[in-house]
Each structure stands twice: as structure tokens, then as C-alpha cells.
Symmetry: none
Subunit: 401 residues, 2 copies
């Protein structure tokens, strides 16, 4: 659906929508014909809610396409993830919980090792420990450039996020990482005229970093790749008329929510219980709540079937606290599937539940992949979930007379 | 989905995909509430495979649209059949097993009858026997034109394919067939400047044909219509990274497969058993196999319900030979429906089965229209089948991080 078309129909209402996203929720059975993680989990509260809900399977990006977390979240928030692309550098900065702004260009950085002739011997500097990386990042933070600020945010092991902030910067830049060893890191080149000054600044930074790190062990250089600005997307309040809050612990999800114009709430403690406590505390302050649970995906990516089951059961235990707040609309879904048997994200459609007073419920008292395959929402693009939620929240006016 | 978007995500893999297409597979019950041809057929092997597969109903072109074999096949191969149109003339040439090339313009030809004043008395020359038609075609093959080659391929009864081959030809040409009797055949006119020379050549051919056939009984003239080039479509190897083989007996299907860049294998003998033998012989040579069974459609178009049932049962008997090859992904579907009760192609969605190790199987141990309507693939555009097959074959990289 055309987003502008929907936007014209948006009307105000005193209703609240809660969107509970279990990251990588969709799964697969251990053996063909068996039960998935979600189907294995004992989820009396989700099942009871399912009985009063419409069920379906969402396709985040397109049939057969395995989404990264960025595209998966954009889709469930109602943004076409093929149109709104979040570059690798921007994602790295978000993941480091860096507040990217409109004047920023971000890149993914690696600490690396070169030999005496300047040729790469290790693109990851032996995956140096995060603590060591942190110290090196501190050194790089002393670098000053003319006409732009720069930020270095350690991520994990050899990885860091590099951000350049200033007016008139461009992100049409080639990588300095040659993606192979035995050759020298590349100079960053501008791929469009508006990025020429930026290329100069980035190369100055790299030169300064090499000077600072010369002789350091094992990392004596840096490489940068995936230069990207933070994309501009229509804000939730304009597009949907919703004052939205995000409750998420990890930087990446907080960042995507910020991109959509949500107020990102702090979660002291950072557990799932803490997230639900934040939801309760702020319930009267917003129209829309996005609550993100990361641990389902983490377990899926580790291949920990039982761990994923346990997290789903834990979330199920908190569901009554959400329902006790009296939301008008509840969405329970994921941003993509992460079956433990695949130990990775996958292309499989995602179990999705939509509850509201006037939803046409399927009467299927089970929340799982097979149950959702029988649901009346069918197999639907994930970007259709927000319009359905808005309609059920009384926030979409009639079209035509 | 945007095809260019998918193409960018294609990654190599050592996996094999088998696509078994029973032409006109979809059917209807003899009486409302009864079983379709596929549901009537005793298909223990397809049913067992269905239990381990995801099921759905594919819409080849668009809801309510009855596809010809060309569009139906383009769709199941993943090409938007509304965007890639195969003109009537090109189809006629393909059907005659003529290897159309990029310099060719083809038309559908009719032998016809005119009276002494040159007015049409029979547009089909009494549907003259194919053998007679063959003799007349031989005569027309003696015609020589300046600046272009021409080919005449008999098809059936009064029909033949006409192909003009040469540099710089155009296919923006009007028909010579006035579609009524009592008037003279029309001169072919160029509908665009780039086709003016082609119009001259075609009219020269028609004049020469009339001279050769003057006094012949009952066919003393020819009519040409549906001028069309062979469309250019992205090749399987570029679009999907697949080295593909086609196993089909009839010219039309061999031609569409050739259009998509498949290697078209010979099928000595031409029976269904021979097709499966070719599959086995070439299994190690390709990544993708399209195996086409024509007889289901032929039976459907004849109104032969029981005959269609028997063909489906015959194919079911060969399925274990396909499965014994160990394909990573199996698709069983049709290019459109051809219900025997309608004696024609129809708009009904087509039963489709997708098997792979990590497909989320529906556990429905039956392959039929009603079973597929309950499947987790839902009702899906046929062009989504290839992306799903590629994903299940590990050939689509993650989108975004």
C-alpha cells in the first residue's frame, strides 16, 4: 500500500497500541514434522490471547529474502525495507548505541595489522580482545580534524564504529578495506562530487590513526568500510499520528526506533522484566509502545533451541502485565525468523498475532507457526501490520463516501 | 518483488533444484463438491512428499486471468508475464520447435481460400489436412527475398509459422488477416518507422506465395498475423546464478526455456519415462532442472477427466526416481489450470508443493487443490516460487545487517 495514501486517512484517537517484538521469533522444528521453538514453549498467556486474535505469518522483506535486523524492523514499523535502506556503517553506529544525527556519516571500522612494508597481514588484528580495542579507540579519540568532528565507538573485538560529523558531508565513499591480505589498505575515494571533501577528511583520519598506532601490537592500522548516512524516514507522528515510545536494550534497535521518530526510553537493569517495568511506568505518556526482546534471536543464532524456548516462556509470563494496562491493540510478532537449527536469520515468515476488541478473531487458541499459517491474516507483507493495527485502534478514517 | 533486488542477493551454492511442471495441473470436480482430477488420482508418492512440504496455490498472471502456456511458464520461472510478453507469432514459431533468434520476426500463418475476385471465402481453407499443408509449405520455402531469409514451418491443419530473419527488422506490423470473409486480405502495414522495410519484405513474400499457390485447391493464398520478435529476458544464470536444463518434448516449452537461457535437452522417445531418464542422465551437469509434462493439459483440454487422472498417476509413479537423485529443493506445480470440465485453460490457482530440508512443512499428507488451499504458502503469485526455491537452496544472501 502507498504510504501517502494511508497518511491522508489518519485520524486522531485516544487509543493505545502495544507492539511486542521477539527478535528472530520464527523457528523450525528440530526434525521435520516436529515442533518449532514457539510451538514447543509452554505459553498459556499467548495462547489465550491468540484465541481472541487474528493470526498470520508476516513476510518482512520479500518471499525468500532473509532480513537483517534493520530491514526486519523497518518492515514491522510499516516502512518498505527495500526503499529505506540502512547502510552498514549506520547500523554499526546504531549498534554501538551512538546517537546518529542528520549531519553524520558513519563507517564500520576494523583494527588490523600491517607488516613493515605496509601490507595487510591480518584484517582483524587477531580478533583482539574488546578491552584492548577499547584502549586503542581511546587513543583514536584524540584525533582532531579541520571542519568536522569525529567519533570512535568500540563495538566488539576488532570492530568499532567511526562517525564523522559536520555540515555538507557525503557518504559516496569507497572502502579502505581491500578485503584481502598481502596488499596495502586502500585510500578512500569519493564516488560522487559531494563526497570529495569527506574523502579527504577520512583519509586524514586514517593517516593520523596509523601514526598513533605505529608500533602497537597486534593492531597497527585501521580499515573503514560501508560509509553511510543515517537515512531519513517519515516520522511516526506524521505518518501515523502516533506518539511512540521504544523500549529496547540494544543499540541497534534503539537506533532504528529513533530513526522512526520514537522516544527511546532507558531500561535500567536491562532485563526483560525491566523492560516491562518501563512499559508500565510510561503507559500514560505515549500512544504506541514498541517493546523489543533480543534474547530470542541470540538463542536462535547460537543454535540454542531450548534457550529460545525458555525466553519465549519468560516473555509469556510477562504478557499479563502488558494486558493489565488495557491496550486497545496488541501485536506480537518478530522482525524475522531465527531458527535454532539454522543458527542464523532465515527467510521463513514470522508468526504474528493481532489482538483488538473488534479484530475478527480466528478462535485458534495457540500461538505458533502452524497455527498462524491457518490464521485469517494469511501470509502477509509485514508492512501491512501497522495499517491493520491503526485501523483496529480507530485511527484510520473512511476512504471515499 | 523487484527482480534486480533479488539478483543482487544471489550467492553461489552446491545445491540442486528440480521443478516438475504438469501442464494445466489445476482442475475442477466433475460436480460441485466433488474431487478434482488431482484429488481423484491415486498419488501415494506426491502425497508423501506433500507431508514434508509447504503447500500453496499459485496465481500465474493475476487473479481471474487465464494464462496461455507462454505467460504461465514465464511466471513459474519467475518472470513477470505482464512485463515480458511473448507475441503470438513468436509462440507459433516456438510451437513448431523453430529456434527463434534475436534477428527474427515471426508470425502466425494460415492457408486460406480466395475467389476469382480475390475475396476471402474461407480463412482456414477448409482446415486442410496437415499433410497437404506440409506440401504447400514446401512450395513456399522456395521463395527468396532480398535482404532477409524466410522460413515456413507447418504446424497443424491450415496453420504454419512464418519467420523472417535479417538485420534491422521490426515487428510493428499490422495483420494481413481481415478476420472476416467476403473481403480481400489486407496489405501488411508498418505501425512504426523501424518496421517499414519489414512490411515491404512481408508483402513481397505474400505476393510470391499467392503466385505459387494460384489455382491450388483449396488453399490459394496465405494470411499472416501476430508479428512478433522473440522477447529478450534476463537469463537464468545471471538472474539466479543457476545453470539450468529443460526437459520438455513440445516446441513451445522448449522455446520458452531457451528464452530463459536454459540448456534444452533432447528427449529421445518423447515419453514421460524418457523425460525422467534424461533427468537421471544429466543430473550431475546442472543446478536446476525444469521437467515438463504436456499430457495433463492435453487431457484437460479434451475434457478427458479420467485421462488427466491417469497421467497424474503415471507422473506420481516416476516421482521416486526424481527423489532418489537427492534434490535439495523440489517444486511440483503447473503453469496454469486446465479443468477437464471446462475443456480449456482456466484462471484457477494452481496446486503447488515446495519441498526442501528446511522448508516449514505443513504436514498435510495430500497433494490436491483443497489441501493446497490450506497450505502455509497461501495463495501466492507464481513469480514468488523461484525466490522461495532459491532461498531453500541456500542461494539468497541476507539483506542488510
Amino acid at each position: 500500500m502507498n504510504a501517502e495514501f494511508l497518511q491522508k486517512l489518519i485520524q486522531p484517537a485516544h487509543t493505545k497500541i502495544a507492539m511486542l517484538i521477539m527478535d528472530g521469533l520464527g523457528g523450525l522444528p528440530r526434525e521435520p514434522g516436529g515442533l518449532t521453538e514457539l510451538e514447543t514453549a509452554h505459553t498459556p498467556n499467548l495462547d489465550a490471547l491468540a484465541a481472541r486474535s487474528a493470526l498470520g505469518l508476516t513476510v518482512p522483506v520479500a518471499p525468500g529474502v532473509t532480513p537483517g535486523s534493520g530491514p526486519g524492523h523497518l518492515a514491522i514499523f510499516g516502512y518498505d525495507p527495500i526503499h529505506y535502506e540502512i547502510g552498514r556503517g549506520a547500523l554499526e553506529a546504531l549498534g554501538a548505541d551512538f546517537e546518529l544525527g542528520p549531519d553524520d556519516v558513519a563507517a564500520r571500522g576494523n583494527f588490523a595489522t600491517v607488516d613493515l612494508e605496509g601490507l595487510l597481514t591480518d584484517r582483524r588484528a587477531g580478533r583482539l580482545p574488546t578491552e584492548v580495542s577499547r584502549g586503542l579507540a581511546e587513543r583514536l579519540r584524540t584525533i582532531r580534524l579541520e571542519g568536522a568532528e569525529c567519533f570512535v565507538e568500540p563495538v566488539k573485538e576488532h570492530r568499532f564504529a567511526f562517525i564523522l560529523r559536520g555540515a555538507g558531508l557525503g557518504d559516496a565513499l569507497s572502502d579502505s578495506d581491500p578485503q584481502q591480505i598481502g596488499v596495502a589498505p586502500l585510500a578512500v575515494r569519493a564516488l560522487a562530487p559531494d563526497s570529495e571533501r569527506t574523502a579527504l577528511l577520512v583519509n586524514q583520519f586514517i593517516a593520523a590513526a596509523q601514526e598513533l598506532l605505529a608500533g602497537a601490537q597486534p593492531a597497527n592500522t585501521v580499515m573503514l568500510r560501508g560509509f553511510a548516512r543515517f537515512p531519513t524516514v517519515p516520522q511516526f507522528v506524521e505518518r501515523y499520528g502516533l506518539h511512540a515510545a521504544a523500549i529496547a536494550v540494544n543499540g541497534m534497535y534503539r537506533g532504528v526506533a529513533r530513526l522512526a521518530g520514537m522516544t527511546v526510553l532507558d531500561v535500567p537493569g536491562g532485563t526483560i522484566a525491566d523492560e516491562f517495568a518501563v512499559l508500565e511506568r510510561h503507559w500514560s505518556d505515549f500512544d504506541f509502545f514498541y517493546l523489543h526482546v533480543k534474547q530470542t534471536d541470540t538463542a536462535g543464532e547460537k543454535g540454542d533451541f531450548d534457550g529460545k524456548v525458555r525466553i519465549i516462556e519468560e516473555v509469556d509470563g510477562f504478557l499479563p502485565r502488558l494486558l493489565a494496562l488495557g491496550p486497545d491493540v496488541v501485536i506480537v510478532s518478530g522482525d524475522h525468523s531465527s531458527p535454532a537449527v539454522l543458527r542464523s536469520h532465515s527467510w521463513h515468515p514470522v508468526p504474528t498475532l493481532l489482538y483488538a476488541r473488534h479484530v475478527r478473531s480466528d478462535g485458534i487458541a495457540q500461538f505458533g507457526e502452524a497455527a498462524c499459517a491457518r490464521g485469517s491474516l494469511g501470509v502477509l507483507p509485514a508492512i501491512h501490520v501497522m495499517p491493520l493495527a491503526l485501523a483496529n485502534a480507530g485511527r484510520v478514517a473512511k476512504y471515499g463516501a
